[in-house]
């Protein structure tokens, strides 16, 4: 099973971010998602939400570029996770800077909700800059909207399990999976939002998801500069997905 790690860039500070990221690079995992900080991370729970404030203060385009190149040298793919409100007035300008930074592609969690009417323009702006658009949707996205975004893209897909990051409400995951799998066919499905324990990873793997994305789970150890807790978390994720 594949593993994607999410980091709000650069949280908790430029140096600490780099230090923690570097600890993960030798590990066996496939994708890095770098959250571009924003004032209104609507669909994030309180844990990730608080990372955006600090990251906004520390943000630097040059450092982002260096970071993306450093990750790509390890053979991992790296994606920007960005809210559409960051670029609604100038999608082309934003895509061109994301391309310049070196990202493989973008994940836009609010594209199919708050920016639904702009979805085709934004999707074509992404592809005209030779970036991959990773379709992002959740359990309440209608079939027709999922089919359409699959038709506009060719990459893996990101399925948001919980209604928000880092929280857990009870869900009937097997029935969600069978619906999404039916629609997505062979496309690789990475599931994220609210995954924080080995038990959940085992369950998702058994159900049939192709990979998981994790972010909130290690925010606290980064916040507290607790390298040991961070390493334990990472080894757990690596072994549950690749063991």
């Amino acid at each position: 099973m594949k593993l994607a790690l999410y980091f709000t860039f650069p949280y908790p500070s430029r140096d600490a971010f780099e230090k923690f990221l570097k600890r993960t690079l030798p590990l066996n995992y496939e994708y890095v998602e770098l959250g571009i900080p924003t004032e209104h991370p609507y669909y994030d729970g309180p844990t990730v939400r608080k990372t955006h404030g600090k990251a906004l203060e520390e943000f630097s385009m040059n450092l982002l570029k260096d970071t993306v190149h450093m990750i790509r040298r390890t053979g991992k793919k790296v994606y920007a996770l960005a809210y559409c409100n960051l670029f609604e007035n100038d999608p082309d300008g934003f895509m061109s800077s994301m391309k310049d930074v070196g990202f493989d592609g973008l994940i836009l969690p609010d594209l199919l909700t708050d920016y639904y009417s702009m979805r085709k323009d934004i999707a074509s702006s992404v592809s005209s800059h030779e970036l991959e658009l990773i379709p992002f949707f959740n359990s309440t996205t209608p079939d027709a909207a999922i089919n359409e975004i699959l038709g506009l893209t060719s990459s893996w897909v990101y399925f948001g399990l919980q209604p928000s990051t880092g929280i857990r409400v009870p869900l009937d995951i097997p029935s969600m999976y069978s619906r999404i799998r039916n629609i997505c066919g062979e496309r690789e499905i990475i599931v994220g939002f609210g995954i924080n324990s080995a038990g959940t990873v085992k369950e998702l793997r058994k159900i049939g998801f192709d990979g998981i994305a994790v972010g909130s789970a290690f925010v606290n150890s980064m916040e507290n500069d607790d390298q040991e807790a961070f390493d334990i978390e990472m080894r757990m994720l690596e072994s549950e997905t690749h063991g």
């Binding site: 609507y42 669909y43 729970g45 309180p46 939400r49 608080k50 199919l112 909700t113 708050d114 639904y116 949707f137 959740n138 359990s139 309440t140 996205t141 209608p142 079939d143 027709a144 909207a145 209604p163 928000s164 880092g166 929280i167 857990r168 409400v169 009870p170 869900l171 009937d172 029935s175 969600m176 619906r179």
Partner: protein, 424 residues
Amino acid sequence: MYKYNHFIPLFMYGVKNKDIIPEQWYNITPDLPEPLSPPRDHDPERSSIDLLNRILPLEVLKQEFTSRRYEKIPEEILRQYEQAGRPTPLIRARNLETLLNFTGKIFYKYEGATVTGSHKINAAIPQAYYAAQEGVMEVATETGAGQWGTATALSASLNGIKSKIFMVNVSFRQKPLRKRIIEIYGGNVVASPSTLTDYGRQILKKEPEHPGTLGIAISEAVQYTLDNNIRYLMGSVENSVITYQSIIGLEAQKQLEIEGEEPDVLIGCVGGGSNFSGFVFPFMKTDVEMIASAASEVPKFSKGKYRYDLIDTAGILPQLKMISLGADYVPPPIYSGGLRYHGAAPALSMLVNSGRIGTDEVTEEKSMEAMQIFARTQGIVPAPESAHAIATAIDYCRNNENQGKTVVLNVSGHGLLDLSIFGD
């Protein structure tokens, strides 16, 4: 097929209740033309979505975020539905047709025939059942008109648990009989704002005679739920409630099929949107026209905005994207307490915003006229809320362009406990 088939009672065809009551509820979410914008947290420090784990019965919360098109109705709920008067009848309003010189057909689905007198029991039974299954001993809720409180009180008693009902102060004063019946059913009812919650006490301190709003009553019920570690039942607006109410439309579909009829238009009234959405959503795949009727005094369709807004005035629950007049909006004290809500269910709001569902707004005066017309023609005193839908239907049938059409109307409740609308 048979010219006079409307006079032949269904049982003479061998149709049984269980042929009409569906085995599954319908959830429109996966069939919507656009994605629903998800509930949103608005407090920087905590997650109000996470808090739902402590507010709602788990099974209800699960159904809030489900993508399953059909949800199996548990046997015990089907049994309680039948005991509560389901299926409700679909009746042809021949006398009204005659009065209006209407050459088409008017049918009405009569939710007033349930034991508590409105559609509200459809959503109260499953929520009380799931709460009791999960070991909860008491549930809390708000009520405007009193219909939801009545349904909650009975459903809680049927499932062996207690209920606490926060009733909007104006309704509490306008409708003493409501309080009585809620108590007869085993509920405990208090006027909101109340002294039972911090939020209520704060409001009373500033304004001791505050008329109350549904937004405030919801806030108090939710606060009381959290303070006492019980569970809260939702009367309208939320997706799961709309799913439970789909029983209205699913039954109507079956009944129309038995009658050999296809509707041209579906009409219902909208407070939070539960009876209307439950009635029309199962028909969404057809091209039938749909008209949602609200109160002119609470002009959510003509003056509301489609945006994220609070469900409850205190902001304990997550925000929803919906048509709203603003959570602070204090509606005038019209008699139709059930239509005095500032917002409307997200899926309904989306479909109104996109133009799929048409709207109408009816004044209190016109709705009272419709109440009398319906009473004198069909013999049923409709709830003042339902009378808005009837007024819209009457206008529709009076429009010459609509002659010959088949109109199906949802009469969400009876008004026998609302007669003081005509004076004491």
